[in-house]
Symmetry: C2
Subunit: 477 residues, 2 copies
Amino acid sequence: MAPQLEPFFKQVDDLSGSFIDRLRKAVAIPSISAQDENRKDVFRMAQFLASELEALGAEVEQRPLGKQPGKEHLDLPPVVIARYGNDKSKRTILVYGHYDVQPALKEDGWATEPFQLTVDSQGRMYGRGSTDDKGPVLGWLNVIEAHKKAGVEFPVNLLCCFEGMEEYGSEGLEEFIQAESKRFFKDTDAVCISDNYWLGTEKPCLTYGLRGCNYYSLSISGPAQDLHSGVFGGSAHEPMTDLVNILSRLVDSQGNILIPGIMDLVAPLTEEENSLYGGISYTMENLHESLGSETSIHATKERTLMARWRYPSLSIHGVEGAYSAPGAKTVIPAKVIGKFSIRTVPNMESEDVNRLVFDYIKSEFAKLNSKNTLDVWLQHDGKWWVASPKHWNFTAASKAVKQVFGVEPDMTREGGSIPVTLSFEQATGKNVLLLPMGSSTDAAHSVNEKLDKRNYIEGIKLLGAYLHYVAEEPMSL
Amino acid sequence: MAPQLEPFFKQVDDLSGSFIDRLRKAVAIPSISAQDENRKDVFRMAQFLASELEALGAEVEQRPLGKQPGKEHLDLPPVVIARYGNDKSKRTILVYGHYDVQPALKEDGWATEPFQLTVDSQGRMYGRGSTDDKGPVLGWLNVIEAHKKAGVEFPVNLLCCFEGMEEYGSEGLEEFIQAESKRFFKDTDAVCISDNYWLGTEKPCLTYGLRGCNYYSLSISGPAQDLHSGVFGGSAHEPMTDLVNILSRLVDSQGNILIPGIMDLVAPLTEEENSLYGGISYTMENLHESLGSETSIHATKERTLMARWRYPSLSIHGVEGAYSAPGAKTVIPAKVIGKFSIRTVPNMESEDVNRLVFDYIKSEFAKLNSKNTLDVWLQHDGKWWVASPKHWNFTAASKAVKQVFGVEPDMTREGGSIPVTLSFEQATGKNVLLLPMGSSTDAAHSVNEKLDKRNYIEGIKLLGAYLHYVAEEPMSL
């Protein structure tokens, strides 16, 4: 039986002006976590959130995380945690978001003041943090307010976990989540994170998978100091020559990883999975629009989505130690470090990938007969994540999408990583759902970031409807 | 008949203390051409030189070169030109040096104050500019003074051309040399430049060749902006992948240039030339000491010297546009520019080299089947230079070395470029000799730059003796 959502939906529509005002107030606080001088604003934003949540009747705490590692003069912003409802007969849903934002300057090319929410005639609400991630965070507050004002009983116990360092590596959060797994988070029945985006602009999606990332450094050194290329060119082994040679053996121009054994670790494509891609609302034009070019590798959307979601990729990011400025410098660099990463997918275990990478690079380097010295190491890794999209958490969200938007959501995965996803899954042992509010054109991290009014207001309805369906779903895997 | 040099030599020994004082005064003026705040010191150094030359009886001019291009608030330092002697019956020798120096800070690792000449117990005279190039420049002044005080007739007419921007690209000098080719420089019979170094530490050398340099940029671009490697890795052609692939096809780890046709442009090794390398005072240990490692390509000194002097080499200097900082950034750069240069030798013509480079890179790129866009262009070129070491200019210098040091000099070439060499050769149409004063361990451009007292004082005798032998040599090619 579908929940009776009309009073809640009507209340959201009635309050839409005040919800946009709430977003306007939040955007006006430049809570840029990467800039020391804005740290006070990040704290101000935490206080704003805490006050709003308290006014709505939640139990709120601002939990300190100590000093910022490496910048001991700065306090890390607090994690704002809140509990709304404590009824043992209801499910408890943990929601996560972040209240810090990326840097933004009008001079970077913004058409409007980045910290002044500006709504155009088509309902596009421009402002830093509008879609990433203040809109979704406030979405949960708006859901509570609409329920209260409509006199509709809140269907679940809600736990909020809003952090203030997401755009700067989520410093301190992992430890916090682990420490609270048996305390604040202990009643969690399922997790919902709203911090990604629709695949396109028209159709909502539910995201159940992310790729992992193994990041490597490959260093080659020879002489004790940089050399004059006139004096020594031709008589000494050059580290940069060896480096480009090894880097060129990792991946080809069609994106094929050339390291033997890597592809053998990838879970085979089943008939069932293969049949899913055709139905996803995505086109090659969408891809070309995102790229700003037609330099796509694959001819079809299906193969493109597989490349993004379910196959590994290897990207070469750059070289440390070589000349990188504009102009012309003729030095032979003494030591160069190539950086590359492999996006990992089921069933690639990090240790297996490392072993294959190290063995291959060492054996290829040996073939060069260079007297230079090679070193290769893992800088960091983060595991891929795949949840069961058949869990009641997803079923509830899917019904909510159908109710609010009139369509079945696309079940998607993502090519990038959201490390907190895995942290919550591991700390709670529960299903995690990624439920995006914004669309693919929102330009998070870029100039002219925006959130469409439709995505915000209908998104609030979606979050609320999701909680109602969650309350009704039978147990599942 | 050998000139009677004893009175001159004795006078140099007698004046050695005052010659070292003259160097001390010059080193004390921080004439750093690359730093705006030191421009006044560069002018001060020009004035010091001009005054000293005038006091010795030379006709001196400080010739302005106008404003510094791109830094219009700065005047370029003057070229100090001087004529000493105007006797039509004598040969006229043009000498070049520079009075500006590289930057230096005690904090960089200097054991002594860089702008305070400090002589240690082994006669090593430490100070910025001691060997590069104030010692050699003052050498000519000291030669004049010793002749005057010894009452020995000066054997030639001397033209001095001392510039103040050598360490910053010799701004304005090329135009000045061209403009004065038929005026101040018109009587020149031969040119002598003292601005390079002995191959080792014991044996003087005369340098008759330099490699040229063609510097290239190779750009590959694809998407309109940098991409998230999680989202787009595997579905878009990555410019960095294509770039390392192309760069890896230019040169192998043994220094072999892989561009077809390049080696066909190189002048064949004659029996006569081949026989020269064995006698050069140089060892593999010298090379390993300079490298600070044993990462040499060739097994013998002969092959090493050939690689440095008479064969081309290709060095990859770096990548512009990719991630170059320490740490881990996962972006796919949208546009990357590889920088590489080819050291050129006889008979490589720049246009032929360019054509081979461009054709090869374009055809290799086509093989990649990438949708990215390639561009490759020459940033700048400078021609190789080889003089005739049998010219009387070299014969005179060779006899002077034998007279002062008791050994035949090594006849050497260099792997690097000294562009002014070619400028003087072209402007005067006369033979140019590179006659170094300092040794290979002088650390020009580095911390703890020094000039050995022996190299300075015996070097003054060498410069003077050279002028006497020049006056006696019969005409030759």
